[in-house]
Amino acid sequence: MRPFKYTNAKDVPSALKLAAGNPNARFLAGGTNLLDLMKEDVERPDELIDITRLGLTQIKATGSGGISIGGLGRNTDAANHPLVRQHYPLLSQAILAGASGQIRNMATNGGNLLQRTRCPYFYDVAMPCNKREPGSGCGAMEGINRMHAIFGWSEKCIAVFPSDMAVALAALDAVVKITNASGEERVVDFADFHRLPGDMPEKDTNLSHGDLITSIEIPKNNLADHSYYLKVRDRASYAFALVSVAAAFEMKGNLISKVRIAMGGVAHKPWRAMKAEQMLIGKEPTEANFKLAANAEMADAKPLEHNKFKVELGSRSIVRALQMALNGGKS
């Protein structure tokens, strides 16, 4: 870990100002990802701006019937908030599927969205990695890529985005509220928040230096009765997803009137399964229909040498998550 200056920001304007003044500065929130990567010598800021005393932790109903979650609130509090549990159990579940009790107590909602890939070539400074060191090559492409992407990857990068929380947020059509270095606010749709790697895998998101996530908003929906977050992993707990699925739908009579499906562990960003969603609208929630939709979605997958299984696993996981959602989350 390189030496750095530690600054404790007192309020939002001073945090923004500090960041604007130093291109090598980083915000320090829970630190669970940033410090990990600094110890690995992957992240090399020369200044950390501690933003944990800025407030921005509130969870409250919005005027339009949705919910607003503070960017600096902790994952544990988001998962356990009565409004979230009652109206967005999908989000609670996704958060609780991630990491461990200790880490969720530390991790912030904003930090969670900005955690970086767990690709082992990215983490190991002895290895080539275009995301860490543009132009050095992708170590995983010809290497061991069991954990890597099957959708949306580029020749430059096949890493996946590891967050669970973000998968639920993608399914729930969340928006991210951001204040930039000059104090201007903007709202970004979740679909536009994370990027595909393309030619610039070093950029995970569409944020600029000094942008501060102040809150995340989820619009009102009626998906709570039928939602489920399914996470498939190599051990029962405390492991990142091989594949995960956030599935939720609304019924009118015995037909699906609205449906949201997003996948984790398959792409450089939470992967909205739009094709599957479209196929399910107006259909009965039967296993056969779930399978058709899942297979249609996975037909576009482009697996790599070691992750061909993710196509079949992805398809089964979509079906299973929808089934669980149908039963109100119970098996």
Binding site: M1, P3, F4, K5, Y6, N8, L28, G30, G31, T32, L35, D36, K39, E40, L48, D50, T52, T76, A79, N80, P82, R85, Q86, P89, S92, Q93, L96, A97, A99, S100, G101, Q102, I103, N105, M106, A224, K231, A236, S237, Y238, G329, K330
Partner: protein
């Protein structure tokens, strides 16, 4: 080893107390030279009943402090980007100056002589460094000491209440919730905080109905397992750890079978 190690000059009263509690160690302490300060700490550390039972290695207890010793004054050149931090550790106010890079874990272990918290991975991947920060379990290896200004830290050294072991500690001994013991401080801090989380009605990934925000949650074994999964035990003491927590949580003894046939 310790500079201040010397034959204890025990008062008659202390000698009497010591003889009552652990007579078998008196002679040894006198010739092995454990110091009086440590001796007194032992007295506050352990309940009498446990002490006799655990006497075989009580000498070890004597050589380690309970509360942080006043920080050694470091050569300022060894601190880069120094940050002054005032915080509470196990109830006692502390002031330390740390290199901005220093984690809470390394500060406890290397500066404050509180070596109970363990470094199993230094990257958030094992839970051995778990401490309770402002009432919540966190990983001290991913917490910068610099960020702890004004906070209150409870470490394994502060879990017992004066003379009295915490029920979780007693249960860990009773159910053999450890083997090598290296994960144990983290497991116990984690378990102590978990009991409060359950009281708050917090949910986990295996909670049956998330939408039912209930009062205090009665945790099944499966719930305890999931909630303790952030603490790796390489020795594999998991079933016993779960039993220990279950007893404290439910207030009911858990069956331990010694099956010899």
């Amino acid at each position: 080893m310790n500079e201040d190690d010397q034959s204890p000059q025990l008062t008659e009263d202390e000698k009497k107390l010591f003889e009552d509690l652990m007579p078998e160690d008196l002679a040894e302490i006198i010739d092995a030279g454990v110091n009086r300060r440590h001796f007194l700490k032992l007295m506050t550390l352990t309940g009498g009943g446990m002490l006799a039972w655990q006497s075989a290695v009580a000498e070890q207890v004597l050589t380690r402090p309970l509360a942080p010793t006043p920080p050694v004054t470091f050569n300022p050149e060894t601190i880069e980007n120094g940050v002054n931090v005032a915080l509470k550790i196990n109830g006692a106010p502390q002031k330390v100056t740390v290199d901005s890079r220093m984690t809470l874990l390394d500060t406890l272990r290397e500066k404050l002589d509180l070596t109970g918290s363990k470094k199993g991975c230094d990257h958030g991947q094992c839970g051995a460094c778990t401490v309770i920060l402002d009432g919540r379990r966190v990983l001290s290896c991913l917490t910068l000491a610099a960020s702890c200004e004004g906070k209150s830290v409870k470490t394994i050294e502060g879990i017992a209440q004066g003379n009295q072991l915490h029920p979780v500690q007693t249960a860990f001994i009773k159910y053999d919730g450890f083997q090598c013991g290296f994960c144990t401080p983290g497991q116990i801090c984690s378990a102590v905080a978990l009991l409060d989380e359950a009281k708050n009605g917090d949910a986990s990934y295996v909670t049956e109905d998330l939408r039912k925000k209930s009062g205090p949650a009665m945790l099944s074994k499966e719930e305890i397992r999931e909630r303790m999964s952030g603490n790796i035990c390489r020795c594999g003491a998991y079933p016993n750890i779960v039993a220990a927590i279950q007893e404290v949580h439910s207030g009911k003894a858990v069956e331990q079978n010694w099956l010899l046939v």
